[in-house]
């Protein structure tokens, strides 16, 4: 009887398990890259057409090939890498501080009711405030220094990160809370084993949004707060404008765009990995 039962069960289990086959690595990479490559090709073509139409003279709007050649030259110069390194150091420092602040504020606000009433809408309000509006105050506080830039980067990114955590805590599935309660998890243990892991996807999208705000604030900051003897991407952009170096200006803009996209793709990959592990990616496709 028992052997019979377990065989029955094994049979049903084997029938019920879905066998999802994963495509090969090469075909997955190709499936993701070809739309991107076509989009780039399309943008370059439209750009070239606009240049050919003579809407603006070539010294104002150079064609894509001139700009890409300029970019290629820059990639061979040490100065370019120093500038990128300075900018990325600021981005990483600012973002790290923002994550820390966002975590602490988000955790406190999601847990303490009066704090939520007091700060909940303020955090969302801060999120909608254009970061450039903070710079006059930041410069007043910190003079023309890196601290002024970091101050604004943190203010730009932290609200999104805090909001991501708060939303994640709020939308923890009630059934999981009940399950945790039944298991005997209370207060901090419930937080650690159920609420925090459950809010991870929302926190991750908060991080992603926070990064976008941080990057924008950083670029605004580097254009406004130019520190002597310290090359940065924003400073290069400003230089190019002053020297009417249109190819250099556009090349720098491409660098800013590419860095933003690459970091965003990293967050996207983390998000995908999480969804796959948790089985949130099923149902469609």
């Amino acid at each position: 009887m028992t052997a019979d039962l377990s065989q029955h069960i094994a049979g049903l289990d084997a029938l019920e398990l879905s066998h999802r086959e994963r495509q090969s690595l090469a075909s997955r990479i190709w499936a993701r890259t070809w739309p991107m490559l076509s989009a780039i090709a399309l943008v370059l073509a439209v750009w070239e057409l606009v240049v050919l139409s003579g809407w603006r003279p070539e010294y104002v709007l150079p064609g894509p090939f001139t700009v890409l050649a300029d970019l290629w030259n820059r990639l061979g110069e040490a100065e370019f890498y120093q500038a990128v390194a300075v900018t990325m150091r600021r981005a990483v420092t600012g973002f790290a501080v923002a994550v820390l602040v966002g975590l602490v504020v988000g955790a406190a606000v999601s847990r303490v009711k009066p704090l939520r009433a007091a700060l909940g809408s303020l955090i969302t309000g801060l999120q909608t405030m254009p970061s450039i509006a903070w710079f006059p105050l930041a410069i007043l506080f910190f003079k023309l220094s890196e601290s002024a830039i970091l101050f604004v980067v943190v203010l730009g990114a932290a609200p999104s990160i805090a909001n991501g955590l708060i939303a994640g805590v709020d939308y923890t599935p009630p059934i999981l809370l009940r399950a945790g309660h039944i298991l005997g998890l209370r207060r901090l243990a419930l937080y650690r084993h159920v609420i925090l892991p459950a809010s991870l996807p929302s926190f991750l999208s908060g991080l992603k949004q926070g990064w976008a705000f941080a990057w924008r604030s950083l670029m605004a900051g580097e254009l406004l707060v130019i520190i002597a003897h310290q090359a940065s991407i924003g400073e290069q952009l400003d230089n190019a404008r002053e020297l009417s170096d249109a190819p250099g200006l556009l090349a720098t803009m491409i660098v800013i765009l590419v860095i933003g996209i690459v970091v965003d793709m990293c967050f996207g990959a983390a998000d995908n990995a999480l969804r796959r592990r948790w089985g949130l990616d099923q149902g469609v496709g």
């Binding site: 039962l5 039944i182 005997g184 592990r277």
Partner: protein, 276 residues
């Protein structure tokens, strides 16, 4: 509104030791909504009690009260400091943990951290063997079928070393064949571990298949209206004539109860919300 029928049955006192005792328990939501009205009920150690009722009878409310997820408005619930585990209609497994990890977490909380990780892993493997899932410990919950996940949930409940197992329509979402197998599984585990089980269902045959007693609840507010002892020999089959006969007696009683709520003016369909 018609007044609820008050037909209180005292908990059994014939030498049995109750694991859970509810004494005139009422639950009011908000100001008006009386969900449970003076429910008196007891479940002995090692007894399997099925709670049956139409929609709105407060079955789930009752379980939540016993589980301590909610507090009664009036009356007393005595669980004698029994350890209580609960299964829901959904498996409610944590998606960020593996199957084994889910069970290890339950073991860790139950032992208040006095076990090593190795011990918990070994114990989780034993528990998974009980529900015939020993080979699936490394999988994630979403990789298993609904029936398998529900068995993991059962293993997790067993990990709590509970004396009382509350089950809130745990097999409601499963197909008939899987459900049959899980009934056999549950019966075997219940016997081996001498659990007190309080099993909520709206499926009359399931109640008769599993229960030592089938307790019928009325709707809005929920009160105990009848307590059917089931003396059929085990193991029973859901499709046997004896089970069908008792099920139809209980269904008739349930129909009467549902009809009491039919309002002449309203053009309601005659369905009872009950699976026969």
């Amino acid at each position: 509104m018609t007044a609820p029928i008050q037909e209180l049955r005292p908990g059994r006192t014939d030498g049995h030791e109750p694991a859970v005792r509810l004494d005139a328990v009422s639950k009011v939501y908000g100001r008006e909504l009386l969900a449970l009205d003076q429910v008196t009920l007891s479940v002995d150690r090692g007894e399997f009690v099925c709670l049956l009722g139409a929609s709105g009878c407060g079955k789930s409310t009752l379980l939540n009260l016993v589980a301590g997820l909610d507090r009664p408005t009036a009356g007393e619930i005595d669980t004698r400091e029994a350890r209580i585990a609960m299964m829901f209609q959904e498996p409610a497994l944590f998606p960020w943990l593996t199957v084994s990890g889910n069970i290890e977490l339950a073991l860790r909380v139950t032992s208040s951290g006095k076990t090593t990780k190795k011990e918990r892993q070994a114990r989780a493997k034993e528990l998974l063997e009980i529900v015939h899932l020993a080979d699936f410990g490394h999988k994630r919950p979403h990789e298993l079928s609904g029936g398998m996940r529900q068995r993991v949930a059962l293993a997790r409940a067993l990990a709590q070393e509970a004396d009382v197992l509350l089950m809130d329509e745990p097999f409601g979402a499963l197909d008939a064949m899987t459900r049959d197998l899980l009934h056999d599984e549950l019966e075997r585990i219940w016997r081996e571990r001498e659990l007190a089980v309080l099993f909520v269902t709206h499926n009359v045959r399931e109640a008769v298949r599993l229960g030592d007693r089938v307790v019928l609840l009325s709707s809005r507010p929920g009160t105990v209206i009848e307590d059917f002892p089931v003396t059929l020999p085990r193991p029973r089959r859901t499709d046997s004539a004896e089970v069908a006969e008792l099920a139809s007696t209980i269904t008739d009683r349930l129909r009467q109860e549902v009809l009491r709520h039919a309002q002449p003016a309203a053009q309601r369909p005659a369905g009872t919300g009950i699976e026969k």
